[in-house]
Symmetry: C2
Subunit: 308 residues, 2 copies
Amino acid sequence: MREIIECVPNFSTSDPKVVEAILNEIRRVENAYILDYTFDDYYNRLVVSFVGNRRSVLDAALNAARKAVELIDMTKHKGQHPRIGAVDVVPFIPIKGVTMQDCVEIAKKFGETLARELNVPVYLYAEAATKPERRDLDWIRKGEYEKLGEMIVQPDRKPDFGPAEPHPTAGATITGARKLMAGFNVNLGTSDLKIAKKIAKALHSKKGGLAQVKAMAAYIPEKNMTQIGMSIADYEKTPLYRVFELLKIEAQRYNVPIVSSEFCGMTPLKALIDTARYYLKIENLTEDRVIEIAIQKAAEEAQKPGAT
Amino acid sequence: MREIIECVPNFSTSDPKVVEAILNEIRRVENAYILDYTFDDYYNRLVVSFVGNRRSVLDAALNAARKAVELIDMTKHKGQHPRIGAVDVVPFIPIKGVTMQDCVEIAKKFGETLARELNVPVYLYAEAATKPERRDLDWIRKGEYEKLGEMIVQPDRKPDFGPAEPHPTAGATITGARKLMAGFNVNLGTSDLKIAKKIAKALHSKKGGLAQVKAMAAYIPEKNMTQIGMSIADYEKTPLYRVFELLKIEAQRYNVPIVSSEFCGMTPLKALIDTARYYLKIENLTEDRVIEIAIQKAAEEAQKPGAT
């Protein structure tokens, strides 16, 4: 594949039947490949990672969004993760052979089509934002689905596409283009959500924590634990080990142990390399020195026309 | 590339001209690709990693070995790393689409050809060994180049190919097939080789250390430091973090800090994953969840005949 775009749509559902129906809409598109998907009851949210070229990634995202609008009823939705609509947020990420601007164009086509076909109001965010404040997902999502009716009529909150009123069952949708980011959740050995919230606050960039980090606390009933859910917008600037070690220090303050952690979505290799470099004090580790990647590059060289 | 074999030949030289001449012999072979090479004065040793198919990997290994026999004079060689010949050891490693037995066959062809053409005695080791004790590189290399003349005439040390006498300038060669292993060197904040040797001993499998680990101590003049040079034969059984943490504990005993570390040769992805799993307590991390690998697999699926 010469051209690779990743799309990581977030849908407001954890109903296995709805999840399967949405995934099938992506699977049936030629040259679109699902890399991963996760969904949880406590977030009541489905996160899918898939890749494709310009055309297939847009087609698959639209198919999946149409199905989600059809099947998800936001008037009945509850979940710990902030959300504004059935098709909550749909970022397009340049991976290979495409620019950020290409992904901005794809996001605009996606938003324009969704609004025109289904009357869902659409906001552009991140690199596709039309105003500085709209770069921020949280600004757009303020008040969530429940207050969308009041918010959307404010002049500065007019959607980029579609009507200035919520879709009756699907709310609104946010789409845009951004860099690859890392989603990382840490499970804490406490069921006390108050403590988890304090720890999340200590990590969050806007509350005095680490730049590039958004952190939220959630309670996980089936484990009787709390979790810090984080996204690291630029994990090259703010590497994972720094986030983890600071989280450990803040948790120690409340005598709360870290039980386990998990990537939410795919793991970027660079995050693993930075982790090994830090903990093992490695000096000479780069992507090119990872055997699987080096072999892949050699294979690509071999396939170029004129290569011997 | 449907079929991938890695070859990691070790040559007894650190002369940049000789290094370049050997590398060129690999570069000129169609479908052979150098992934990495390192050489150091204090080890006086060149380690090359390259990949190819059955045919190209054998051709490139033979070309490189012929050049090394031509240019390296063991009668003048000094170095801290044990060695028995100019072309010291040449392992073949199955990576993809080939079995260990395929690599044993390649090693035998390599050894037979080298002995026949250049009169270099050749020993088979690891998975290609003809007797149990010959699985062990150190057993074969006992006495090193300097005592090779005495050792090689002993009945139980008869070479697998070639004459029972050392090549006058190239000594002997060891070849075989083995699993991918990790080479890992740790630099210590002490110039005291006695302490470094104690730490190496504590790590070495045969001396009561960790299974799968070989460790040796060396002094690095340009840094005025010592180094623990290690190979981990099966880094899935004995992961890198365990080796590193134990080394740290043994070094603390002598109040010696760990300054830095480095992979010697290529880094296996699995070693990075295990490292992140341990230090960040990650539960759900596998190769398939690393985005670069997942995309590679999707691309391979897309290239299969009949794939949509």
